[in-house]
């Protein structure tokens, strides 16, 4: 038997969704925009859609892929210039601007970014969802609207192509040298933020 429709669950479910996934959506957006204010917009717009659809959106393991799928669509609209700066996200945008004043890049990162930029949007997205968001193929399917098996084959193909681009960009190294990852408790931009504060 199905349970009753219950509007009373809408608020608690949204709050839990927001609590559990807000940083995942923010991270997803921050890794894909140049201006942190744009990421704040993506978070606001994504969770606004989630609020409107909180009683019908999928639950459990499918929640995060669904939210990232919405964020992906919002980002696409943003890139087309069809989304205006959201009034809801102004404070979040201001806070992000203070805490993420600059982005530090390394040579190795530039090589990887350049190789990524040579992939098709679809290939790039499945790789980034795997590597940056840590999603499984099935979850990636939930974001981009593909079956898990299709994602698996697309991931294989995308990795192969990425390796080819990396080799072409940096023929002396196989694989290209990666700069040591900075300690997570002292990320470069946080140090910069401290300098600003001082």
């Amino acid at each position: 038997m199905t349970r009753r429709p219950d509007e009373r669950l809408a608020h608690p479910r949204f709050e839990r969704l927001f609590d559990e996934h807000r940083r995942a959506v923010l991270g997803y957006a921050l890794r894909r925009v140049a201006d942190p204010a744009d990421a704040a917009d993506v978070v606001a717009e994504t969770f606004l859609v989630a609020w409107r659809r909180v009683d019908t959106m999928p639950d459990g393991d499918a929640e995060r892929p669904w939210l990232l799928g919405v964020a992906r669509r919002v980002l696409a609209n943003q890139r087309r210039g069809s989304v205006r700066r959201h009034a809801l996200s102004q404070r979040l945008a201001r806070e992000l601007a203070v805490q993420l004043p600059a982005e530090e890049t390394s040579a190795a990162r530039d090589v990887v970014h350049e190789a990524l930029s040579r992939l098709s949007e679809q290939d790039r997205e499945v790789i980034l969802l795997s590597a940056w968001e840590g999603l499984t193929p099935a979850q990636i399917g939930g974001v981009v609207g593909l079956r898990g098996a299709t994602v698996r084959s697309r991931l294989l193909r995308a990795r192969r192509r990425l390796r080819a681009h990396l080799a072409a960009l940096d023929p002396g190294e196989d694989p290209p040298e990666i700069a040591p990852q900075p300690p997570t408790q002292h990320p470069p931009f946080m140090d910069l933020a401290k300098e600003h504060a001082a």
Partner: protein, 369 residues
């Protein structure tokens, strides 16, 4: 094992998850969450999906703002089809004039296909109603509202088609000979909207297992199986869980028989003769009225410093855990849980500002159900 290419890409991430987690954004995020919750959910109300968890926040503090939007889920309607898909013609005509008036006015649509049956009905009025059907591995909710609501619902679906992953409009759809607009979202859920007489109608269709795909052809086939039925067929097919108007008074009296009632509480006033309610909804109406009366007394007593009266109300609310109708309702919906959450908070007492929090939110969450 992490794939080496993924590891290269992971290390090239402009911002890591750990860095995002370390950002101090709590106040800005709380402001954003509150601002979103202040927005109305103007989209069509559809069946709440069964949450795997009740989804109450992990924070200990009472978040009564969470349980807003009270008993709006109470204007639904019913017709029942037999399990073999036929329309069950009712042998009895015990329906009161109110029921006949409603049945005469509303769009009487049934699904005439093998295996379909009514899974849920709630309350029925002339203004709006909803029937939840199930069959063939699908769920279908038929809802009707005054036709003036059509544009709002249409706009919401059009907006979804732009915003939600893989949402799209299905072109060239007709329902019962009337042009309709059909939308697919999340890959497997469909909304079909059309107007008929003074009503707008929406059929929301999705797989019983939300994660299963659902091809448009199956939805279009379901639309072809919709048919109009007579007043007799429609009323005769009402499910047993819908409390007949003639039985409301007796049913209410039975429901309150194990409740401690406040002095002067008017049980007779609970028997609403103008609408048809399913037993679950009548239970929420009755238990909510009693609980709300006690909570109101507790709030007033707490604010005036009348400790004895507050303790008396608190004890009455503690006994809500023994109200049999709530236990009966528990497997069907969350109303009992919400009521007990308020009751337990009052009985537990002690948190600063709790009286104000309860006073601000209990009516919206529990009352007038």
């Amino acid at each position: 094992m992490t794939h080496i290419t993924d590891e290269l890409v992971r290390r090239a991430a402009p911002v890591t998850d750990e860095q995002v987690e370390a950002l101090d954004l709590t106040a800005a995020e709380a402001e954003l969450s509150s601002a979103i919750l202040a927005r109305t959910r103007d989209a069509p109300r559809r069946r709440a999906r069964v949450p795997r968890r009740l989804a109450l926040p992990r924070r200990r503090s009472l978040r009564w703002s969470l349980v807003a939007v009270a008993a709006a889920a109470l204007a639904l309607a019913g017709v029942s089809l037999t399990r073999d898909g036929g329309i069950a013609t009712g042998p009895d005509r015990v329906w009161a004039a109110a029921a006949l008036r409603v049945a005469d006015a509303v769009p009487r649509i049934a699904i005439d296909a093998p295996g379909w049956h009514v899974e849920r009905v709630d309350t029925l009025t002339v203004e709006q109603g909803e029937i939840a059907f199930g069959g063939d591995g699908l769920e279908a909710e038929l809802m009707w509202l005054p036709s003036g609501k059509y544009q709002q619902y249409l706009d919401s679906n059009v907006q979804d088609a732009k915003e939600i992953p893989d949402a799209e409009e299905i072109p060239d759809v007709e329902v019962l000979g009337t042009p309709a607009r059909a939308f697919r979202s999340f890959g497997s859920t469909y909304n079909v909207l059309w107007r008929s007489g003074g009503y707008m109608l929406q059929l929301h269709v999705q797989p019983a297992d939300f994660h299963e795909p659902l091809a448009p052809e199956r939805v279009l086939g379901l639309l072809d199986s919709l048919k109009l039925v007579s007043v007799d067929e429609w009323l005769g097919a009402m499910p047993a869980s819908l409390v007949r108007p003639d039985d409301v008074q007796t049913t209410v009296e039975r429901m309150v028989s194990d409740m401690r009632l406040p002095d002067g509480f008017d049980v007779a006033a609970l028997a609403d003769k103008l609408s048809l309610r399913d037993r679950y909804q009548l239970g929420a109406h009755v238990a909510g009225a009693v609980a709300c009366d006690w909570i109101g007394r507790w709030v007033r007593a707490s604010r005036s410093g009348d400790e004895r009266a507050a303790a008396d109300a608190s004890a009455a609310l503690a006994s809500s855990h023994d109200w049999s109708i709530l236990h009966e309702m528990e497997s069907e919906g969350a109303y009992p849980e919400v009521l007990w959450e308020f009751a337990d908070a009052i009985v537990g007492g002690g948190e600063a500002g709790q009286v104000d929090e309860v006073a601000t939110h209990y009516r919206q969450a529990l009352c007038d159900a």
